[in-house]
Amino acid sequence: MAAKLTNNQIAWRAAQDIHDGAYVNLGIGFPEKVAQYQPPGREAIFHTENGILNFGEAPPSGEEDWDLINAGKRAVTLKPGSAFFHHADSFAMVRGGHLDVAILGAYEVAENGDLANWSTGPKGVPAVGGAMDLVHGAKRVAVITDHVTKDGKPKLLQRCSLPLTGVGCVTRVYTSLAVIDIEGGRFVLREKLAVLSLDELQAVTGAELHVASPVADLIVPEL
């Protein structure tokens, strides 16, 4: 099982499903990469919890304005048509169902759509940020993640073992090996790497993969 997508390639695949004109929130860290791979001709408008709509990429080093940051506290720039607002209005956008898609990272995703991505347990300082809000309200909540943990354990499970971020909230998972929908409390396989058999994929997945329609090859460019 040497073959797997890089993080950039996972992000690229997720970006292909974002429609023109979509309002999108990308979780901090890995999901932020999705913004780089918008298909040409499609314009997504990015929302950040700390009060900006329609921000753009990072400014050159040394030209940062530290009042112009995203939720990950990284400096950003503005695009034409941007707007500032306070935190209550920002989360009205989130909770009120105004975002078309939120793309988040995950420690674990369960076949019932439960997501665990904020706490690895009782050790250390707990910190939740906007994750629990983002999983509710966005019309579509997707996860991008490596298919397995660093030590090879499945991240897609029957039930999450870590503290939950949200219940039954995830509808699609983009992993390093496959694209999987969550429907009716089941993982439904949509795409997988061509080099991988269904059995091989099932072996690194912690819950049953269902096949409802022909499984497409997961094809992404070199990135």
Binding site: E43, I45, P80, G81, A83, G96, G137
Partner: protein
């Protein structure tokens, strides 16, 4: 991304029989007269839409705008705080004849219910109306020793909104006290339709002064010289008027 539409008829084309429609404005200030009249035009031409539930602070004045919409027979129910006005004859007559429903809501509760609808808050508690007839049948709870009434969110299929400036992405500013319910209704409707005195390209509104971010807006139509309800009523205007 360009949310502008060509004309008023296209702007209101999504409103169907039985829908719930929020209409901005407080009295005449901020009332989207041209959008309302375009809706009346469609009704007169096609018989639709009808059976509408309208959410507005008032019940219209005179014989234009919301009052004309009611007079045309398109409204089944009104949700508002103050359905009395200087010339309330249209609503009053229908109401007293039992031909229109009224849900009376205190003004601040109306505003907060609409905001809650837009913000994904299904219910909240307010001291307003506790112990009065308007709290009847609503759950009551005590917090820190004081009683409060539970109120539910309000949402709509469509909101009709009047703005001063819009950009093509739907970012909006308003003019003076014409702001009132308009920004809240933008948040609470599945489709928000805006008439703006001026439409500018994206980037034409400073991000600091945007009142309604474009995420809350679906359609924008320019009405360069909008009518003011108060002026129309002082001129005794009647819509659609005599052909």
């Amino acid at each position: 991304m360009d949310k502008t539409v060509a004309d008023l008829a296209t702007a209101v084309a999504g409103i169907e029989d039985g829908m719930t429609v929020m209409i901005g404005g407080f009295g005449g200030a901020g009332s989207p007269i041209e959008l309302i009249h375009a809706l009346i035009d469609r009704f007169l031409a096609t018989g639709h839409p009808t059976g509408l539930t309208i959410i507005n602070n008032n019940a219209g004045n005179g014989h234009v705008g919301l009052a004309a919409l009611i007079e045309a027979g398109m409204v089944k129910k009104l949700v508002c705080s103050f359905p009395r006005s200087a010339d309330p004859v249209v609503f009053t007559d229908l109401y007293l004849a039992g031909k229109i429903e009224l849900e009376l809501v205190p003004q601040g509760t109306l505003a907060e219910r609409i905001r809650a609808g837009g913000a994904g808050i299904p219910a909240f508690y307010t001291p307003t109306s506790y112990g009065t007839d308007l709290a009847r049948g609503k759950p009551v709870a005590e917090f820190d020793g004081r009683p409060y009434v539970q109120e539910r969110w309000l949402k709509a299929d469509v909101a009709l909104v009047k703005a001063e400036t819009a950009d093509t992405q739907g970012n909006l500013t308003y003019r003076a006290a014409a702001r009132n319910f308009n920004p809240l209704m933008c948040m609470a409707a599945a489709e928000t339709v805006v008439q703006a005195r001026r439409v500018v390209p994206a980037g034409g509104i400073e991000p600091e002064v945007v009142i309604t971010p474009g995420i809350f807006v679906q359609k924008v139509v320019e009405v360069a010289d909008p009518q003011q309800e108060e002026d129309l009523n002082r001129a005794n205007a009647v819509y659609p008027g005599v052909a």
